[in-house]
Amino acid sequence: MTNILETKYLGLKLKNPIIIGSSNLTKDVSSAKKMEAAGAAAIVLPSIFEEQIKQEKENMIKALEAGSNSFAEGLNFIPEPDELKLGPEVYVENLKSIKDAVNIPVIASINGSTSAGWVEYAKVIEEAGADAIELNIHVSPGFLTAEAIEHRIMDIAKKVNEIVSIPVSIKLSNQFSSIANLCKKLEQNAKCDGFVLLNRFYSPDINTKSLELYSTIDLSTSAELSSRLTWAGILHNKIKGNISITGGVHDSKDVIKSIMAGASSVQMVSSILINGVKHITKTISELEKFIKESDYSNLKELRGVLSFDKCPNPEAYQRQNYMRLLKTWSSN
């Protein structure tokens, strides 16, 4: 029987477009199996944090050396084992276990800000059997120029793609002047296979009483989908790589919108955290129902029908849309 929901992402054949995004929902074998059982087509593992590993290594050495050789009765305090898994070993072991336990594609994720460590981690992740790698590159902008930031991202992506043969996607945030341009460059120069749009960050807030900053991350809402649809719509057919929309995909309607804009898959997290694992099954079933009840025979036909290239009112993707909306708003 033909699978009407089948799609492709990063060259991987997915049974439907729903990928479970990088989060605690995919943290271990038991979680991954639950996602697969509920119908998820692929999973992205939580990120391995390059900086965290580096920091952990340094802290561990400092802590083990602290207070050593200072006092005759206790020349050290914590027994130091011969082997400590201070690098990516734990991540890799978890990845291997998950790969062994599920049949759906498993995408590993690397998060970091410098080029050190990326190549090492990417290589061991590939060797551990990941089906693809998602690079979550965060460059703290400070006063860097936009060009310098893009250059660093390009550099990391290029190095990783040179070292691994599995597909590599880049997860980008909306903090770029021209996401489309950056994606195109990443595809052409760094050979990236796909793009995950758009990342969401922890953002600082102020406690006015304690005079302190604190960080929070709220779950996404469908209202955030719009900006993702814009870039997916603009990029559809302009790049060879696939687009996966993340941030704001909450139900089957959001999935349909994302595919119509041009994405080949979506990544869901918040709505599953809110509604439970059964929400995956429900969304897939609603999606199937929509296609069956629509004029489309399968998901592929749906893809990009309302992209910039194909939609009846492409100006909506442009500034005019902004102008018009603004006018409407001000007249209220």
Partner: protein, 1196 residues
């Protein structure tokens, strides 16, 4: 003998390496200096390292050495080859079982790092007091004199015990051998198998108690047969020495290393010999060689087998030409006719005369040397030989000290250097925190791992746990090194900390023409005039080659932080010429890669950069040939110090304790030392100190409460005092009605602060304009020390608040206005225990007697040179004593007995004298309420009046009463210790003490490990934490001591954490003290053994411990039962955070996760389930109130 493997190691590792491979069960318990043997065994078994029979030995920690001995006894009786490791008081705790094991003729070997026994004072250092106290047990005793021998004799003892059925104690000198690093030849597994070949290694098994072949052992015997049976064991002892010799001979065939039960070294025609055991023999051998080369005829008898005493072998080894013998004992037996080895030798020779084996007794003297690791050098050996040459040699002499009191000491020539010229000798002065010792251990390995090179490393640590100075003594040579004593003529001296140059004589040991390397924050052009005059003179007189480097700057630039070790190590190799420079640098880099490569390449790169940068920053100092400095070396103590401190303490601080004569200690012979002396030991170890910002302060007092060293204090004072204040002195108006109109200051003592920064983390106030800043902020000490020293001096002289003026001592701020009677201790920077001790001293110090269990709190509480407990303006303060580790609750309970007895008798006498002293006064005293400070003060005043009256009365009873009248004022007994004491070794006594119903207060400072001995697991160690003896992470939950105590129902119990809820801490301490019965407080104490920066994060971790449920806060007050309330009050909420959040911040948990993440996940799950269950149980208990008593009339 072919393919011999050599390795650098210390005596503990050398002995443990054999013990682990030749046993099936190791029963262990930590005690310095033997703990590392157990740690090695535990680590090897954790790594699945097998013994020579292919099994991984089982390692089991016990609750005490007594427990370990019992478990060893059981294990050998049930069929296993079993061993244990111990020292000192631990060995004494094993004595009862030693009699049993020996009486039952059971093959068994224990390994002892011989250490002093506590008498007038505790000492962790080496001598034979402990092993000599076991010479009567029936154990054979085999001594090792060096690291190599500790390895070899471990094997010989094992096979000799198996063959003879006599259990063996194999011992070597604590620290001198146990901690000395030397290159040794390893005994391979094959060699060990060869050693046991043909021996019934399964004897214990075939003799085992088993229901399959049942036996009864350990019967009670009566006068008719006991004696005879006791004598029946003699043949086993008679054969023992011969068996040992056979095993030694076999060992020689296998390894090439020859030993005898008694070894003679020297010419055949020697006229004088010294008899000695242990590491001292190495030193004597060096002196004998030197003296014989000078034409003397002297020899040495090394007694290796001490029990059974090999008299026959001794006589055989003693050259016939010998006319005089001097026997050296490393122990003291007050009142004995002589020390034990001396008496054994006298007896052996006397018996030989009686039996006609020798015609007459040689001249024999006995003497004591080396107690508590006191130096024993070749020149002292010469003095012993010289003594034998005198017409009337001194007998029962001492050597190595100046006994001007008893005139027992031999005089020796301190300037005589008997060491071979080709030995490179280096001394390094550093701080514990700067990595000096680690780098030197590494250097020895680099040098001595070369073929034909030999190395020796011995490390001396001071008694402080923060800002501790380390002195490394290194020797390198092309010949094996014997010298079992410190370097005293160094070719190379390095001072890794510039401030030492201003206070200490770091060039005392420098040899003429030697090299001096100094880490200084100055260039070669500047550094000369920064040195004190005395030091310049020494450099000129000794014609030293002088190099300097700003290692701190290089460390900072290369990302090494405080660790200057790699930099100074590189400089050592660059200028010492022990190895070709380039080769040495290459080897340092290889060592760095080996140490850090697996963990972090970034750290490797930083170290490489530090090595490269060091060479370009190292400068030779071309100094003038005249003293140009304008300043002298600083005195050890200020002029304000007491005469006692100036006379005695200051010499110890200055490093001249060895030179003090016996007469200097007449005043303190019984171990009683004056209080309040840490105030004179200005150590200035902080690099940053807290500076108060009065414009932001909210006067909460938290900074003073959390300060581990009482280096931050609060005072209120009259505004007019400010007229005398130094410039820059800060104060503000006091906020609060109790001292309205007065001024308030928070002041740091800059020279006593350790710079831990915990005060700043406690500060809740934020500067409104710049919230980054608080009311107290760390700042570089150099910018403030001059001003703050003056401020502190002024502050210290301001009057203390009267205790009676304080209106609410449950308020942190008011409690912190009380003078701490525990100050400036040597505890670790950021210590989590000392704030409790300090608070206790503030609240009750003027009426408290403290019994302190051995451990961290006894070390920072009473380790010389100075004492942190101090007195108030009335001369009152905590009276403090340490008995032992295992008996502290009983010790404290005994104090209560004595205090109560004297109070009782004073009461009785007062009743009898009530008419004479006046009935009103007598009644007021006898019925006084002493529930608060004001009432206690009133009672003190009444007792003063009473004493005045008693003088006038003048009768015998009145005189007696006046002597004990102070007991009519309330006295508090506090029993302090750590979890190792309370949960493990002292639990039996603690249990009995809380069941006694007596008014005692127990404060358990719970770090969850044996902190003082280096972090071994206790029953307080939390699940999931790695600790020594639980290297893979503890699998079982922490024992709930509070719950056990609550089960009595009549015990006040509280669990507290000052960093989480300081008000509850205060309340609990005060309630416990006010409770007229036993109380126990279990206090969360963060510790460096937890593996994080306790200064910066200790308080936060305490909060997390409470918020996650790992450490629930509660108070159980039996008094509440009487008023119908629930006795248990939970002072912390149900856990609001997962326990993982608490555990992830500490390396003790992290290493478990990083070893085996899956196992850790399970331990974490159990830990989480554990806190949830505990909370449920405690909530249930907190709802319990006593059933209402039946109404009496209704019952009728």
């Amino acid at each position: 003998m072919a393919n011999e493997t050599t390795q650098m190691m210390d005596g503990n590792e050398a002995a443990a390496s054999v013990a682990h491979r030749l046993n099936e069960v190791c029963v262990i318990y930590p005690i310095t200096p033997s703990s590392p043997m157990g740690e090695w065994a535990d680590a090897w078994s954790a790594q699945d390292k097998k013994n020579i029979w292919g099994m991984v030995p089982q390692i089991q920690e016990m609750q005490s050495e007594a427990g370990a001995a019992g478990a060893c006894h059981g294990s050998v009786q049930a069929g296993c080859l079993t061993t244990t490791f111990t020292a000192s008081q631990g060995l004494l705790l094993m004595i009862p079982n030693m009699y049993k094991i020996a009486g039952e003729l059971t093959p068994f070997v224990m390994h002892v790092a011989a250490r002093s026994l506590a008498s007038h004072a505790l000492s962790i250092f080496g001598d034979h007091s402990d092993v000599m106290a076991c010479r009567q047990t029936g154990f054979a005793m085999l001594a090792s004199n060096s690291v190599q021998e500790a390895h070899d004799m471990a094997a010989i003892a094992q096979t000799a015990s198996l063959r003879s059925r006599v259990p063996f104690m194999h011992f070597f000198d604590g620290f001198r051998t146990s901690h000395e690093i030397k290159k040794i030849k390893l005994i391979s597994d094959e060699a060990l198998k060869e050693m046991v070949k043909g021996i019934d290694v399964h004897f214990n098994n075939s003799n085992a108690l088993t229901p399959d072949n049942p036996k009864v052992r350990g019967t009670a015997q009566n006068p008719d047969v006991f004696f005879q049976t006791r004598e029946a064991c003699n043949p086993y002892y008679d054969k023992c020495a011969a068996i040992v010799q056979e095993e030694m001979d076999k060992f020689a065939k296998i390894t090439g290393r020859k030993y005898s039960c008694v070894d003679y070294v020297g010419p055949k025609n020697a006229e004088k010999v010294i008899v000695v055991m242990g590491s001292g023999a190495e030193t004597v051998e060096e002196a004998v060689e030197y003296m014989n080369n000078k034409g003397e005829k002297v020899g040495l008898l090394k007694v290796r087998l001490y029990r059974p005493f090999p008299a026959k072998e001794f006589l055989k080894a003693l050259p016939k030409s010998v006319k005089a013998v001097s026997v050296l004992d490393r122990t003291k037996e007050p009142g004995a006719g002589g020390e034990p080895l001396y008496l054994d030798v006298v007896n052996a020779l006397n018996e030989a005369v009686v039996s006609g084996d020798i015609s007459k007794m040689p001249k024999i003297t006995g003497g004591r040397y080396g107690l508590s690791s006191k130096e024993f050098t070749p020149t002292m050996v010469k003095a012993v030989f010289d003594n034998l040459s005198s017409k009337k040699p001194l007998n029962h002499f001492t050597v190595g000290i100046n006994d001007d009191l008893n005139k027992t000491s031999l005089i020796y020539d301190e300037t005589l250097d008997m060491e071979a010229d080709d030995v490179v000798r280096a001394v390094f002065y550093g701080l514990g925190a700067d990595g000096t010792v680690g780098a030197n251990k590494n250097s020895i390995k680099i040098i001595a791992s070369q073929d034909g090179k030999f190395g020796q490393g011995y490390f001396v640590y001071d008694s402080k746990k923060s800002g501790a100075m380390t002195t490394s003594h290194l020797r390198f040579s092309d010949h094996p090194i014997k010298s079992a004593y410190l370097v005293n003529e160094a070719n190379f001296v390095a001072c890794h900390q510039f401030p030492f140059t201003q206070k200490l004589d770091v060039l005392k040991l420098a040899k003429k023409g030697g090299t001096f390397l100094l880490n200084a924050p100055y260039s070669a052009a500047e550094v000369w005039n920064k040195l004190p005059k005395e030091m310049q003179q020494q450099i000129i007189d000794k014609d030293l080659k002088f190099y300097c480097i700003d290692a701190v700057d290089v460390a900072r630039k290369t990302g090494m932080g405080m660790r200057i070790n790699t930099i100074m190590q590189t400089c050592f190799f660059a200028i010492s010429n022990v190895l070709p420079k380039d080769e040495a640098i290459e080897k340092i880099k290889v060592a760095i890669q080996k140490t850090y490569g697996k963990k972090s390449q970034a750290i490797v790169e930083k170290n490489f950069a530090a090595v490269d940068e060091s060479l370009s920053h190292l400068e030779e100092v071309n100094y003038p040939k005249e003293v140009t400095s304008k300043h002298n070396r600083l005195g050890a103590v200020p002029d304000t110090a007491t005469d006692f401190v100036k006379k005695l303490t200051s010499e110890i601080i200055a490093g001249n304790g060895d030179e003090l004569p016996v007469s200097a200690f007449e005043e303190v012979v019984d171990g009683t030392w004056p209080l309040s002396t840490t105030q004179y030991e200005k150590r200035t170890v902080a690099t940053e100190i807290p500076i108060w910002d009065e414009t932001t302060c909210i006067q909460c007092g938290k900074c003073a409460l959390v300060c581990p060293h009482a280096a931050i204090r609060l005072k209120v004072f009259d505004a007019d005092k400010l007229s005398e204040a130094p410039e820059g002195y800060r104060s503000m108006d006091y906020k609060g009605k109790e001292f309205a109109g007065k001024k308030f200051t928070v002041q740091v003592s800059p020279e006593d602060c350790t710079g831990c920064s915990i005060c700043t983390t406690s500060c809740p106030a934020k500067n409104k304009a710049n919230p980054e800043r608080k009311a107290i902020n760390m700042s570089v000490i150099g910018n403030h020390i001059d001003v703050e020293k003056k401020n502190w001096e002024f502050f210290a002289n301001l009057p203390e608040v009267e205790r009676t003026e304080l209106t609410n001592l449950n308020q942190v701020k008011q409690a912190q206005l009380l003078k701490p009677l525990f100050e400036f201790s040597g505890a670790c920077a950021g210590c989590g225990e000392t704030p409790y001790v300090k608070l206790l001293s503030q609240l009750f110090g003027d009426r408290t007697v403290i019994a302190n269990a051995t451990g961290c709190s006894s070390i920072y509480g009473g380790n010389l040179p100075t004492t942190p407990y101090c007195q108030d303006k009335n001369g009152r303060g905590p009276a403090w004593a340490n008995s032992l580790f295992e008996d502290n609750a009983e010790f404290g309970l005994g104090m209560r007995f004595a205090i109560d007895q004297q109070e009782y008798f004073a009461t009785e006498l007062l009743k009898e004298l009530s008419v004479e002293v006046g009935k009103n006064l007598a009644n007021d005293i006898l019925n006084a309420d002493m529930s608060d400070d004001a009432a206690i003060e009133a009672q003190r005043e009444r007792v003063v009046t009473l004493k005045e009256k008693l003088v006038k009365i003048g009768s015998e009873k009145a005189t007696h009463l006046s002597k004990i009248a102070d007991y009519l004022v309330k006295k508090s007994v506090w029993i302090l210790g750590g979890d190792g004491w309370a949960y493990d070794i002292g639990f039996g006594g603690l249990d009995h003490a809380i069941a006694s119903g007596r008014n005692i207060n127990i404060l358990v400072m719970d770090t969850g490990v044996y902190s003082n001995t280096g972090g071994q697991q206790s029953k307080a160690t939390p699940i999931g934490a790695a600790a020594k003896f639980a290297a893979a992470g503890r699998e079982l939950p922490k024992k709930d001591l509070g719950m056990i105590a609550m089960s009595y129902g009549n015990v006040y119990v509280a669990q507290i954490a000052f960093g989480a809820k300081d008000a509850q801490t205060l309340q609990a301490l005060r309630e416990a003290e006010s409770f007229d019965g036993p109380s126990i407080i279990i206090a969360y104490s963060h510790c460096i053994a937890h593996g994080y920066n306790i200064g910066a994060n200790g308080l936060e971790q305490q909060k997390l411990a409470v918020d996650s449920g790992a450490w629930p806060l509660y108070r159980y007050d039996p008094r509440n039962l009487e008023s119908g309330k629930a006795p248990l009050k939970l002072d912390s909420k149900a856990p609001t955070k997962p326990i993982a959040e608490f555990m992830q911040n500490e390396t003790r948990f992290k290493v478990v996760e990083k070893q085996n993440p899956e196992r850790y996940a399970k331990l974490l799950e159990s830990a989480q389930a554990g806190v949830e269950e505990k909370r449920e149980l405690m909530e249930h208990m907190a709802g319990y109130t006593a059933p209402k008593k039946a109404d009496d009339s209704a019952a009728e």
